[in-house]
Symmetry: C2
Subunit: 725 residues, 2 copies
Amino acid sequence: MTGDQPAAHPAWLPDKAFRTVGSRHVLVCADGPLAQTVAQEVAHAAEQHGGSLHHRPAGQAAPHPDGDNAEDGSGTEAHGGTSNGSGAAGEPRFDLVLALTGADDLPEAAAMVLAELDWRSGRGMLGAEGFALGRRDGVTVVLADEPAGLLHGLFQVVRLGETAFGATQPIEVHHPVTARRMLNHWDNIDAHPVMGQVERGYSGGSIFWRDGGLTPDLGRVRAYARLLASIGVNAVTVNNVNVHATEARLLTDRLGDVAALAEVLRPYGIRTHLSVNFNSPVALGGLPTADPLDDGVRAWWADTTRQVYAAIPDFGGYVVKADSEGQPGPFGYGRTHADGANTLAAALEPFGGVVHWRAFVYNHTQDWRDRSTDRARAAYDHFAPLDGQFAGNVILQVKYGPIDFQTREPVSPVIAAMPGTRLAVELQVTQEYTGQQRHVCYLGPLWHEVLAFEPWGDGRTVAAVAAGRGADNGPTGFEGGLVAVSNVGDDPFWTGHPLAQANLYAFGRLAWNPHLDPAAVLDEWIDLTFAPAATADPGLLRQTLHEVMDGSWQTYESYTAPLGVGFMVRPGSHYGPDVDGYEYTPWGTYHFADRDGIGVDRSRATGTGFTGQYPQPWAQVYESADSCPDELLLFFHHVPYTHVLHSGKTVVQHIYDTHFEGADRVARMRSRWAGLAGLVAPDLDARVRERLDEQSRCAQEWRDQINTYFYRKSGIPDAHGRRIH
Amino acid sequence: MTGDQPAAHPAWLPDKAFRTVGSRHVLVCADGPLAQTVAQEVAHAAEQHGGSLHHRPAGQAAPHPDGDNAEDGSGTEAHGGTSNGSGAAGEPRFDLVLALTGADDLPEAAAMVLAELDWRSGRGMLGAEGFALGRRDGVTVVLADEPAGLLHGLFQVVRLGETAFGATQPIEVHHPVTARRMLNHWDNIDAHPVMGQVERGYSGGSIFWRDGGLTPDLGRVRAYARLLASIGVNAVTVNNVNVHATEARLLTDRLGDVAALAEVLRPYGIRTHLSVNFNSPVALGGLPTADPLDDGVRAWWADTTRQVYAAIPDFGGYVVKADSEGQPGPFGYGRTHADGANTLAAALEPFGGVVHWRAFVYNHTQDWRDRSTDRARAAYDHFAPLDGQFAGNVILQVKYGPIDFQTREPVSPVIAAMPGTRLAVELQVTQEYTGQQRHVCYLGPLWHEVLAFEPWGDGRTVAAVAAGRGADNGPTGFEGGLVAVSNVGDDPFWTGHPLAQANLYAFGRLAWNPHLDPAAVLDEWIDLTFAPAATADPGLLRQTLHEVMDGSWQTYESYTAPLGVGFMVRPGSHYGPDVDGYEYTPWGTYHFADRDGIGVDRSRATGTGFTGQYPQPWAQVYESADSCPDELLLFFHHVPYTHVLHSGKTVVQHIYDTHFEGADRVARMRSRWAGLAGLVAPDLDARVRERLDEQSRCAQEWRDQINTYFYRKSGIPDAHGRRIH
């Protein structure tokens, strides 16, 4: 699937993962580019594994028994092996049918499934991307209202493997929880002097851009689109939210490059979005102002957007980082963020596009001496008052925590504060603060916890808010989405650390269905990626990967910043420990450790009042150090080192214990992985070993720096007398 | 004097500084390029100020009374103003005679001076660069054995101003204390991705290199050479001691660029040296090894060096940073540094060249947990055992302190440990750790203190060791030199901060004569640079500059790392405070602060034993916290915060007091400077104000971070109740 570059690792879509589909006789009844993609997938699998593809438009009659008439008209047929696809005389015998609900002349099994569906809730309920999956009469059937649903259904069949072809299955209907499941790429066209080509990228260069322009390797982009389609991601931004000079021009004279990427992404059901610079009317348009209420500015956005849609009719919309970390924004013109977002939204509205407007707005030139300013408060303080003022096609994109993608943060109170605004929750697949793809850190459990968090404690989850679901699970009219920062680059393994592929996989799967168990998602990923059944000791491989990955987020947390206090990383790179690295900086990220205690008092009673941004019950739970969950204690409270946690340990002993245990756990991960020798490909094995070596070194460094720092500061010895420096 | 670029600031050689010489009638009796430089200086001054130049070769008869015959032969004559240069009938009347001692037919006054000199010690005593200066019979006379001496003498007359033309003066003989007074440029041809074009440069780009090659602005190089000649610097390396790939080739296929620079530097008495990469035989020569004892390697160096001298007959030699911070060296081949240095020395020896071999060798991948390894020990441990093993044309170049150019360090014990080795002492004019030319930090007092330090407490100074002088001040046969890292760049003011020009000036003057009082050197610099006599309020300007600059080193020390402990700077940039920035790094630069105390125990009794590298009396003085000087206490000892200094204050109160006072002093410097409005050029004034603003901000940041850090750690409040955060 790749172009002029050495073949990239197939990630979770190796040919062998398609064995169960590829060895079957498959009928695809659907038209259009996405249906073509489905057919191509089946055809390629059939070539590898001896099955066959029969593809006919939804409106075409059934193929002739001998299959020859599939060659007529627009129908196509592919045979893999020696067997033919015909079953009983007079009708071909298919093992798998993927058909649009509107297709004519459905095979019997498919018609049975459709009848059941109709009986349940009526045709058309599957929507733009949903599908129904069932098995009747020895035939596995995928039905969808639209071709995108068939594509998702095909990959579901691939995931299920032989299970999809076993006993008769009840009909399952699959819908994505939210219509918008997006990846943001922080890719620059020109390598940034400090941030490089991919900002916070740990996987080589960009897959979209190379040598100052569009990549010549569109095959790699196509392979990426296929991976995304298989996990249900349906939107991508192709450039960094920090939009530098060259990248700003993607909106105008470099628009052709965006169109070329959209061309590749489209057949996989992925819409292309663009990060734009709020200052574009000045920088690109030559206007004297970018004031969003200026008529000329509004006209410029309208005109420019019209040209974008002329080139890319299914263009998704804009992503905007405004008034944030040096990026321009409406504050520069005395306007609100609603003013800013709505101007861009008005330009996109006639074409069905949306603005993703980031809520990551805070003072990044804070004075560390000023304890009254609290960065955690910033997004709420800026945006909650604007609830209800945003246009219908504005989606406010909110980072899941109030600070910045730390290993452990409370859920952002903004998510509960804006019922009249469409909210997208932003996660970070790229491991900026979670080991930078040198450390194993499977993030599925973190995201699952975030998405399942109940801001009101009443069953409504974060995922429900993003999906625009209210207390009764009914639509609120404010559907947002789930967004994540991608972790891929032109690295042969896509993600630097091969096991970090699982994070990309898990994001897509959890964005589709947040109720999935992260360990089960990991199992899917293992089965697809390694096809353990094909290895000498499938149990060992699966068990080892679970042991290495399941708890790796908590392991990472255990040897880094303790109890939710965050940061303590090297400034700039954000890799490795530096306890005081951010303590005296303008970034608003402090721990306030002194000889007596540590933590940030964010209570209403004595601190910054941040706990007051939460609804009940959390406003009360977080307010008191007694009720605050241990893992967030230092995020919300400044306590003595001798404070006793719910665990029964003192804070300082907890720090010592978790850091010794964390480093030990990494050592065990490394030795567990070593036991896989010969069960995984040598290049992948070598890469993982190299990373585990570094993780082990780095975990020890964290352990020793953190423990030494707190021992020097507190003077309290480890209860177990272990070596602290 | 500059070429195609905007004129650089004249630094301490503005035309007006030449008024007293330029308004006189001057005779120059000498031949050769340096004599030509002397004549050009006089001629230019005469043009500006109305005097005249009469120049004749040393072997030519006196000019005819009307001066016309100066036009004959090789003699030249220049008139500036309306007066002519003739005095009594039959002989021109000169105010200033600069003549070689071997010149024929000296004017009467010069002959009188020469006779006195002969009487004192015989002709030829002035040496290669010395000169005699006296005034007899109303004529000021400079005599020298060699033209370089005349050049130095001319600039001495310029410095003296009218004093040189006052009453009859006793004859003074001026010699440089050491024959080698060198500046190292850490300039790269290609900008380094991290370090930029000038490593640790704070003054813009390189004056030697631009756009990947030789600068087209050789006029700027010429202006620099003139500045250096005026302060007695006679050697320059034109590239960084960290020799990257492009710069390595200056030794071979880019040698022409070096020759072009040598061509410009030569008429100012400056020899060109080159930093070379120890690995050159491999990287440039294609040899399989750079083993210094390999015959092929030795032949490669010999042959390469022969070609260097073919292009640059007066080439000075090589500077080598080997086995240091990642640079290759003899350790890679199991050889000693004597083996390495001697191989290069053998190649240079036939041509009179020298190797400056840097002693800055230490483990830069140290484990911070290991308190037994002490970076301060490294240079001594590596080099002292090699004393006596270096070839006669190897000069071991030793940083003045055992760590790395900190604001306060003890003098390196290596300087007292190698009596059988030529030692050059390396200073740092570029303000890497002393404010980076954003802070006023006049370094004359620091260098004066270092050069006057008596390693054996017996009158022999560091300067004497560098000069190869023994206990009786007699020659030891091991003359080294004084070297400094330059602070200039292509900045219009040469040095970023205009007042940092004084550091370059002071280095040259102190290298020539370490006995000079730094405040007197500053007076020279003020008189030349600002010609205060010409300003409306000369007293105010001089007084203000002294107030701002005299104590600025101690001021800088007072608000940065306390009591000799060093570092506490931001890693990488080395600018601004970060108390723990280097505490857990591999660099060997730690302070070991805990809740009880701070400092590095380098005693023999309980510490790393570093004090034992010193001879008496210092081995004993430094060994005890009681006798150790306050300003070095934390360099040598780990003490409680409550330890009482000789000053009567506790360590922690000293920290608070000096930091509050230091920031206050900077505020006063700023307001003092503001009082000069109108007395200095507007562009210079603006630049200094901008830098003082930053210094003030940064000093407050240092104050607050340091005080907060120690308050949080010690819990001891400020005795005066000032605000600590």
